[in-house]
């Protein structure tokens, strides 16, 4: 079904990542020199997770004759924002810099990307908001970058990948969560992998589709990590958003972890209430992809009932990934209350920076406290 009301908040939008050439002006002279001299600037830093010509990577009517899908602000307006009447859209720029092993290079590029996003996207379209891209190789440096970029309140989230080096709940990453909590930034885990490990517990799957399907299991592992490690106890106002994860796996996870917690409580005694309660409070999930039988409204509604909360789903288009056709971005059969929650109330309630008093972001310039 179409979006029936105006003012939706799209929590997962993918403008095309900048080319290395486009990033050169944002790098210091050492990195500019390295990228040119070593021909690194000729590479696209495409993530293995999203082969550009794969059907999933872009809907046919969102591809252009030249240039990457989502590579033009006008196209983003006319294809991703206007048709859905969106008031805000959160840009998750899926750039492969974080997959590099060289921490310094990954950091320099990520920093450049964040600056590029501010100038080339946020400055040019007032409805856009963004996630801060950081490599997790060195949490201290990630924190420095978060602190630097957080001054620009149009950045509402920190972007991390679902499959990486270490489970994200682990203590070495906690400085990132502390910084995010302090600055009112959401932690956004997005589908995708730096392939530091095999995508499956039994190894390297052969097909793209398997890697993609396996993302949901990776999200489950990340959730268990946040839960068991006590991240939500340590950072009580932290919000975690799972982006492009699917959500129909949630009930089974809530049931199983709550049951096993009863017998395993002594191992993780800082978990002071049912995992289902903790997750319903701290975790949100973007709408796309809707992994349920097409046209089967009953099953989807039953699944939402099983999830046991109407606060968890956040509207998303996942533009330009091909998750739906035409403007049928919402599944059929949702009540108007549910639609209102998904489109507007839940995102606003989840992202503190979207609620910035008085300046709810309609004026781009007044939202920038500092520019690099």
């Amino acid at each position: 079904m179409k979006v029936p009301i105006k003012g939706a908040i799209d929590c997962d939008l993918h403008p095309a990542p900048p080319s290395a050439e486009a990033l050169l002006p944002y790098l210091d002279e050492y990195w500019r020199d390295q990228l040119i001299d070593r021909h690194i600037a000729r590479y696209s830093f495409t993530l293995t997770s999203y082969p550009p010509n794969s059907p999933l990577s872009a809907r046919p009517d969102w591809r252009q004759k030249s240039g990457l899908p989502g590579g033009d602000v006008d196209m983003i307006r006319s294809q991703a924002l206007d048709p859905f009447g969106s008031r805000f859209a959160i840009c998750n720029v899926l750039h492969g810099a974080v997959a590099l092993f060289n921490e310094d290079m990954a950091m320099a590029l990520s920093s450049a990307i964040n600056d590029w996003v501010a100038k080339e996207l946020l400055d040019r379209e007032p409805r856009l908001r963004a996630s801060i891209l950081v490599p997790v190789h060195n949490p201290e440096r990630a924190v420095a970058e978060i602190e630097r970029v957080a001054a620009d309140r149009r950045f509402v989230q920190v972007l991390l990948f679902a499959m990486g080096d270490m489970l994200l709940g682990r203590r070495p990453y906690w400085p990132i969560y502390e910084a995010a909590q302090k600055r009112g930034l959401v932690i956004g885990i997005h589908a995708g992998s730096t392939y530091r490990h095999a995508p499956m517990a039994s190894g390297w799957s052969a097909h793209r589709v398997e890697d993609y399907v396996a993302q949901s299991a990776a999200f489950e592992s990340q959730l268990l990590s946040f839960l068991a490690e006590g991240v939500f106890q340590q950072f009580p106002s932290l919000r975690l958003v799972l982006s492009e994860s699917g959500f129909t796996w949630l009930p089974s996870l809530l049931w199983r972890t709550s049951k096993s917690w009863r017998g395993m409580r002594a191992e993780v005694p800082w978990i002071d209430r049912s995992p289902a309660e903790i997750i319903r409070e701290h975790v949100r999930v973007t709408l796309q992809p809707v992994d349920s039988p097409p046209g089967d409204t009953t099953t989807l509604l039953r699944t939402l009932e099983h999830i046991g909360s109407d606060r968890m789903l956040l509207f998303s288009t996942d533009y330009p990934h091909w998750q739906f056709d035409g403007d049928a971005v919402l599944p059929d059969g949702l009540s108007s209350e549910t639609v209102q929650r998904i489109l507007i109330d839940n995102p606003l309630e989840t992202y503190p920076r979207l609620r910035d008093g008085g300046q709810i972001g309609d004026n781009a310039a007044s939202n920038k406290e500092a520019v690099r």
Partner: protein, 365 residues
């Protein structure tokens, strides 16, 4: 120590098939008579060579006594090692008509030395027969084979295929490659030819990869959950490598991995199969159809929603003919047949889950 025997009343005594019972050695040397001298020596000198840092114990310690029920310890030996106690406390007390043995360790599935693995596999299959199945006709063994050595696995399967004491083949879902990989296909071919299902029981030891896509969990609470995500991964691989298309009579049982996750995974596989179909032309039908035809799930550890009726809805989606009751005796998270399901079931549903699905799958009289 008094071990209470619970007497089920006649009205509640349903003859059941328990699809997950764990036998155990009284002491490690119980296996030695079944090993050739060379491998007995090897076992004593070097022991098993597994993919973890600790020897003889799990790197995520369990919450109780190596994951065993405190009330299932016999006088001598660990839980599961005393057939008499197993009979009294479980088979008799719970009306078990048939019990499927799941022997998880010392069978070579996780052994890095493949020659040793072959010897272990042969030995464990002999041990199951002599120690449990021959004295107790209600029990059935599984042909434990090291999946990483497909050639040997096929030979051992063929060797045991004529013996009805062996109801299925057991391999590890934590394999060194996802199980859909073509190097495991000879095992699927043998299973199909010898008309035995293949059981994949959650496994405590890695086949070479971390238990999650982002590395190793910290707490047992996470590692316990990883059994579920691992099963999802394995099923995804089997579907998308076309294993069910290529082996149309193959039957797979997922043991102790839960089942409430399965409908959602099927929906997800269907959706993205549809979008990315050109990548996998060998997968001719929606994944959920293959799962419905080829895959069974055991019930334990059963999921427990706040509203028990929700689980009934999930089972509707999964199919009442997909589910087979299991207790996981004598492990800690044992499901008692009288109290496992917290919502009302019809007689027909009970008969299927507690008995008939398993009897049909395993060809039990």
């Amino acid at each position: 120590m008094n071990i209470p025997v619970r007497h089920a009343t006649a009205a509640t005594k349903l003859a059941i098939v328990d699809c997950d019972i764990h036998p155990a050695f009284r002491k490690p040397s119980d296996l030695y008579p079944f090993l050739p001298a060379q491998w007995r020596e090897h076992m004593i000198t070097f022991g098993e060579h597994l993919r973890q840092g600790l020897s003889g114990q799990l790197a995520w310690p369990r919450m109780s006594a190596s994951g065993l029920r405190v009330d299932a310890f016999p006088e001598d030996g660990p839980p599961g090692s005393d057939l008499e106690l197993m009979r009294r406390q479980h088979l008799d007390a719970n009306g078990v008509e048939y019990g499927m043995l799941m022997q998880l360790s010392k069978g070579g599935m996780e052994e890095r030395n493949l020659e040793f693995a072959a010897a272990l596999s042969h030995a464990i299959n002999e041990w199951q027969l002599e120690t449990f199945v021959k004295p107790e006709p209600r029990l059935r063994a599984g042909i434990v084979v090291p999946q990483e050595d497909a050639a040997f696995a096929v030979k051992e399967i063929e060797h045991r295929a004529t013996d009805p004491s062996f109801s299925q083949i057991i391999i590890s879902p934590r394999s060194s490659d996802p199980l859909g990989h073509r190097r495991y296909w000879p095992i699927f071919e043998a299973a199909q030819r010898c008309n035995r299902p293949i059981a994949l029981h959650v496994q405590g030891f890695s086949g070479g990869h971390a238990s999650t896509a982002s590395g190793w969990p910290t707490y047992y609470m996470e590692e316990h959950y990883a059994a579920t995500t691992g099963m999802q991964n394995t099923l995804t691989s089997l579907v998308f490598e076309g294993v069910f298309e290529r082996f149309p009579k193959l039957k797979i049982v997922l043991v102790e991995g839960g089942f409430a996750w399965a409908p959602a995974l099927c929906w997800r596989m269907d959706k993205h199969w549809e979008r990315l179909r050109i990548e996998t032309p060998h997968v001719k039908r929606p994944p959920s159809e293959y799962v419905r035809e080829h895959v069974w799930f055991t019930t334990q550890p059963i999921e427990e929603p706040d509203h028990p009726q929700h689980l009934a809805e999930v089972i509707e989606w999964l199919g009442w003919d997909r589910l087979m009751f299991s207790t996981d005796y004598p492990h800690w998270d044992f499901d008692d047949p009288q109290h496992t399901f917290k919502f009302a079931m019809t007689e027909g549903q009970k008969a299927k889950v507690f008995r008939d699905n398993a009897k049909a799958l395993y060809g039990l009289p």
